[in-house]
């Protein structure tokens, strides 16, 4: 039985195609999100990789910021539930998930069965999210994917505000104008994201194993800074961008199994 999870974020679109709730046939992330061609492109690419037709997929669950407007799914589920499901499937010992996406940061607590027991999200502010890193990368004239390598070369950490992206942008410009090395400024940017997310995490409490997901998890500089702030090792989820879509595909599979059990019963 084939199921599909579609995770439409603010900055990227992800699709996972799953066979029998276990084997990942395709996992695709396209770097544009809701309101763009991203969801359709991700879907097409995933179908091509999995070598299946859309009609062969028994159920589609959509999640993410764009879930309310996506018409190609049978059901929509919040990204918090989907990330929990996806991460628990990959790392059953996970008790805390830190998900940093394009414009959201979330900390999710899981119980032993992998169900959500509590969660917090950032408020209406880009500080501590992927968007914050994108804005800073633009000021530094690098691509967001280059921040990790640049930050690795830092000798010092130039403190950058974690309260507001706009203020932080001015601070970065001022620090560069004052002659600070861009690598040291990047280390400060990573620390800024980490401090913001650590503040969020403190509200629900941190229980090991801590797993990080979302696009920002691919920046080891942020992960290291976060480990330092939280004083706890953090596991980066395999294919960290896809855990929401994977969770959605798993939820689709489980609901089909449940429905067929009911019918049989």
């Amino acid at each position: 039985m084939l199921t599909m999870g579609v995770d439409i974020g603010s900055a990227s679109s992800k699709v996972v195609i799953l066979r029998d709730g276990a084997e990942i046939l395709a996992g695709v992330a396209v770097p544009v999100g809701t309101g763009t061609t991203g969801p359709a492109r991700a879907l097409q690419q995933a179908l091509e990789i999995a070598k299946v037709e859309r009609d062969e997929i028994s159920k589609v669950v959509v999640t993410g910021y764009g879930r309310m407007t996506y018409e190609g799914a049978d059901e929509q589920v919040s990204e918090i539930t989907c990330h929990a499901k996806g991460v628990h499937h990959l790392i059953p010992s996970a008790r805390t998930i830190i998900d940093i996406g394009g414009q959201d940061a979330k900390v999710i607590k899981l119980d032993e069965q992998g169900y959500v027991s509590n969660f917090v999200m950032n408020e209406k502010c880009a500080a501590g999210t992927g968007r914050f890193l994108e804005v800073m990368a633009r000021v530094l004239e690098v691509h967001v994917s280059e921040l990790e390598v640049l930050g690795d070369k830092a000798n010092n950490v130039v403190p950058i505000s974690s309260t507001c992206t706009v203020f932080a942008e001015s601070e970065v410009i001022s620090q560069l104008a004052a002659g600070q090395k861009s690598s040291d400024v990047v280390a400060g940017i990573h620390q800024s994201v980490a401090r913001r997310v650590a503040g969020l995490a403190g509200r629900v409490g941190i229980t090991p194993t801590v797993v990080i997901t979302g696009g920002v998890a691919q920046n080891a500089g942020v992960v290291k800074a976060l480990e330092k702030e939280l004083k706890i090792p953090i596991t980066v989820a395999p294919r960290s961008q896809l855990t929401g879509a994977l969770g959605a595909a798993l939820i689709a599979f489980e609901s089909l199994v449940k429905a067929s059990n009911k019918t049989v019963g």
Partner: protein, 380 residues
């Protein structure tokens, strides 16, 4: 339209058109109307009624803040910003005075701002005591109510007699009793009394004359009692905070099959749960009510009873979880939150914290939170 729908539509109309309600009332009676600022205008409302005037709750609303920013800082709550904006735009032009209690730090400066910006409309400050439970505090508040009553008499051109005040207290007590009765009965009809309509019934009480509201409540209670009990298949929540707006949040709760079965909202049960106790001296009776009142972030409570009150609401109403509607920049509520969180977590009651503002253009983040919370409750 069936009887229940018809009654609910009357509550809905009043909640959505407070200005019209006030205009109609003034036209019908030829009497004046007094705006009552949150949260603790109770007591003053009975005095307004005894002077033959209409108390009108002023809890802000959804508007674009422009002129109010001249007078209030960015960190003031959206309710007070909306109140100032409405006052400056002339929305309150049919009001003949204001009651402004010293509910919080922002509200301490509101009487001055209203006087400065609307000098023609009298503003009566109501200074509530912090030491509200000791005899000098109660005696002080009784004197404060007498002073407020004298100012109201002047506006009304009518003396407030003890007899009239005792009668007004009885009218308000009866209304509170009916509200309590309705809120309990509503839990047997969660298919009809959705979060939105529950709020409409409560909110309209801030604008309609209490006698009229009580009469409609009586009719609604009778009509609901005639219906079979509905077995609610969704999840049940208790809500706490200052208020539960914008309206879109109420509809989201329904979208996710969440019913409100109890509340500890300032613009809700905190207004109804304490009756004024019997007694011969009406001003002392009003002051004693404030002394007996518990569970509000804006009144001094050294033992922090609010968590217990919310836990009891959960138990009594068989709720599955609690939603804290945190009004952005409401310091007193923010200070209470850690106590509530600890109390509920110790009792293993699922809790959701949602930050709200009256002027919210986008509620999508709240949608995700409510949906995830409903999914979390379903998995339990």
């Amino acid at each position: 339209m069936d009887t229940i729908k018809q009654i609910l539509s009357q509550f809905e109309y009043a909640a959505h058109h407070p200005g019209q309600v006030v205009r109609e009332w003034k036209k019908e009676t030829g009497c004046k109307a007094i705006g009552c600022l949150p949260i603790h205008s109770s007591g003053a409302e009975e005095l307004i009624h005894a002077a033959g005037m209409l108390p009108v709750g002023l809890w802000g609303g959804q508007t674009t803040i422009s002129k109010a920013s001249e007078y209030l800082q960015a960190f003031c709550c959206s309710i007070m910003k909306a109140v100032m904006e409405f006052a400056l735009q002339g929305v309150y032009k049919n009001l003949d005075g204001y009651i402004s209690p010293n509910t919080c730090d922002t509200m301490r400066c509101i009487p001055l701002l209203l006087r400065e910006t609307n000098p023609e409309v009298p503003v009566i400050g109501l200074v509530l005591p912090d030491n509200r439970k000791i005899n000098p505090g109660i005696e002080y508040l009784a004197e404060e109510f007498k002073a407020v009553g004298a100012s109201l008499s002047e506006i009304a051109g009518k003396e407030i007699t003890d007899e009239a005040l005792q009668n007004s207290i009885a009218v308000f007590n009866q209304h509170k009793t009916l509200m309590h009765q309705f809120l309990i009965l509503a839990n047997d009809h969660l298919d009809i009394i959705t979060p939105y309509y529950r709020h409409m019934v409560v909110k309209s009480s801030f604008f309609m004359p209490r006698e009229k509201h009580s009469q409609l409540l009586n009719e609604l209670i009778t009509a609901l009692q005639a219906k079979p009990v509905h077995q609610w298949s969704g999840k049940k929540v208790v809500v706490t905070g200052i208020m539960m707006e914008p309206y879109s949040i109420l509809n989201m709760l329904s979208d996710f099959n969440l019913a409100v079965v109890g509340d500890d909202l300032a613009q809700g049960s905190r207004q109804f749960r304490n009756l004024v106790a019997e007694g011969d001296e009406p001003y002392m009776r009003l002051a004693q009510r404030f002394a007996d009142f518990e569970g509000c972030a804006t009144v001094h409570d050294p033992v922090k009873l609010r968590g217990t009150i919310i836990k009891d609401l959960v138990k009594e109403n068989k709720a599955d979880g609690v939603i804290v509607m945190m009004m952005k920049f409401c310091d007193p509520e923010e200070y209470d939150y850690p106590y509530i969180k600890t109390d509920l977590e110790e009792s293993h009651i699922p809790l959701l914290h949602v930050e709200i503002e009256q002027q919210m253009d986008s509620v999508e983040q709240i949608r995700t939170r409510l949906q995830a919370f409903s999914e979390m409750l379903k998995d339990k």
